[in-house]
Amino acid sequence: MVEHRPWNDIIAYAILTFGVFIVAFPVYLALIASTHDAATVVGGHMPLLPGSYILENYYRAVFVGGSRTSPEPVGHMLLNSFISATGIAVGKIFISILSAYAVVYFRFPFRRTAFWIIFVTLMLPVEVRIYPTYKVVSDLHMLDTYAGLILPLIASATGTLLFRQFFMTIPDELLEASRIDGAGPFRFFWDTLLPLSVTTIAALFVIQFIYGWNQYLWPLLITTQDSMQTIVTGIKKMLTTTDELAEWQLAMATAVLAMLPPVAVVVFMQRLFVRGLVETEK
């Protein structure tokens, strides 16, 4: 039983505030650093209030690129990241929903085996199979291409599992009613299953977009040209300098920019996202 005592509230809020502070402060610091000039940022005393170089820093980061360290402007990296994250999310949803449809609704030989094989790939993320995957991608001449950035990350079981669980909550009678209404397998999928899956698709899109956006190791491995760089690998490259000071204010501006799209996706799709994960009543 939870009793309502003022002290409980105070302690609870104190802990929560502390938690928020720990999470939010570095983000705040990055934001602040991106508004000062290089001299202030590397000066040793990090100011806690915004400076006046905000427009200049962001303009340089997006359109010009760092003068010495990273010749590529962030705008292009953002585009690369956006294409690959969207490609991964859309591709994964496409493959997952179809494979889940097959596994749940069709009786074919070795159906269970097929499902378990898909399931086992959960234990083989890209990091584990990185050498063979690299070999395959390079043999297919997909290094430094969007296909190379996207395809290897599409194959995984999470989406299939999520859709399978969702499809199993849809009553069989709905399929039977469709059959009586003259809808074949494709119509049932298009007219009934897909509209019902909208929230699940949204949830998966959010998860996969962020997953794709945050990829570091794989893009680092297969991209050699600066023009194919994603923003996450780009930030790192800005900071690896040999004989001069890194332009921290530009790196921070880039980090802030890198953060925005995933945040936007979560904010705009939050309602669908939550419904997709918790919805049980059909």
Binding site: P171, E173, L174, E176, A177, R179, I180, D181, G182, A183, R187, D191, T192, P195, L196, K282
Partner: protein
């Protein structure tokens, strides 16, 4: 408009389980046929076989003179109403009803005419734009009916359509379904486990048990002349009282009736409402001495649960041999004996039912 004929229909699952053990049935044009039985008796399976949702492993199903064993559900010219309604949750009421027609490529104006007509009959007019989740259980039920009506099928199939409704609504919808069927004159097959629903709806009642038909007939005939003890106890609430009798009891009770006497032993059945409470005996009939154990008053009638003492009247008491059983007596009104009181329940000869000892056969009296 069509006859539905089942000829020796069988269903055996790959596991070897026999769900339907050879059923023959003839439903005439425009008739309302009700399949009733306890859960697991195969009634839903049989209905789904008629719908084409389950494969048929033996026999033939004939709808309107066409053997449909290999025909897809959509092409059988049937419409089905499901227990959980199975409405498309993302479609409006209108679209739910129109969907099947659109899939058949029917022109839009005709679809609209049919949907509007169905909505008018079912009083769904103001709800056509709503989604199923915005409707009450009864309204959803009506939409499911509407979806069946607009197709103007040869046969309506109902799979326990009222089980998800509360008791009051169930009775109202039951009457509505019957009226609608009379009006549309569409051959219907209706599955239920509720014997009251079965009795009130059916032109032809099919009592099923264990994948087989126990009895087919008009509901009142079945009620008055149940063919087996299963039917006797399943149809009618509270159920018929069944008492196993020894050979000498049969002889004493039915002295001079050769058919009854030909059986060494048997099961005697008496409906609760066929008893009267009286201190007399009744010539040719039966009299039971009971100790009242429980009383149920439901207003217009009262049920007395009594423990039967020893043996029948006029037969030498043989304590221990025949276990005293419970007998339910229905009397009109609310005046009842007290608990613990001893009463005598009598029933006339013509109200007695006699079955073979295994209960599989009715012995005419």
């Amino acid at each position: 408009m069509a006859n539905v004929t089942l000829r020796n229909v069988r269903k055996t699952y790959p596991s070897g389980f026999e769900a339907i053990k050879g059923i023959g049935l003839e439903v005439g044009d425009g008739q309302f046929c009700v399949l009733v039985g306890p859960s697991g008796c195969g009634k839903s399976t049989l209905l789904r076989m008629v719908a084409g949702l389950e494969t048929i492993t033996g026999g033939e199903i004939d709808i309107g003179g066409r053997i449909v064993n290999q025909v897809e559900p959509a092409d059988r010219d049937i419409a089905m109403v499901f227990q959980n309604y199975a409405l498309y949750p993302h479609m409006s009421v209108y679209d739910n009803m129109a969907y099947g027609l659109r899939n058949r490529g029917m022109p839009k104006p005709e679809i609209d005419t049919r949907v509007q007509e169905a909505a008018r009959i079912l009083e769904l007019g103001p709800m056509l734009d709503r989604k199923p989740r915005q409707l009450s259980g009864g309204q959803r039920q009506r939409v499911a009916m509407g979806r069946a009506i607009v197709r103007q099928p040869k046969v309506f199939l109902f799979d326990e359509p009222l089980s998800n409704l509360d008791a009051k609504l169930r009775i109202a919808m039951r009457v509505e379904i019957r009226k609608l069927q009379r009006r549309l004159k569409t051959t219907s097959i209706y599955v239920t486990h509720d014997q009251l629903e079965a009795m009130t709806l059916a032109d032809i009642l099919v009592v099923m048990n264990g994948g087989q038909v126990e009895q087919i007939g008009n509901p009142l005939d079945i009620y008055q002349r149940p063919a087996t003890t299963f039917v006797a106890s399943f149809i009618g609430a509270p159920p018929m009282n069944l008492m196993p009798l020894r050979a000498d009891e049969i002889k004493a009770q039915f002295d001079g009736d050769s058919r009854a006497a030909a059986n060494a032993a048997g099961i005697l059945g008496i409906r609760p409402e066929d008893f009267a409470i009286s201190s007399d005996t009744i010539a040719g009939g039966i009299a039971l001495d009971l100790t009242v154990e429980a009383i149920e008053r439901v207003g217009a009638e009262t049920f007395i649960y009594g423990a039967r003492q020893l043996a029948l009247q006029g037969v030498a008491a043989n304590p221990g041999e025949l276990p005293p059983g419970e007998v339910i007596v229905r009397i009109p009104g609310a005046i009842a004996p007290a608990i613990g009181e001893r009463i005598r329940a009598i029933a006339p000869r013509e109200k007695l039912h006699l079955f073979s000892p295994d209960g599989r056969q009715r012995i005419g009296l």
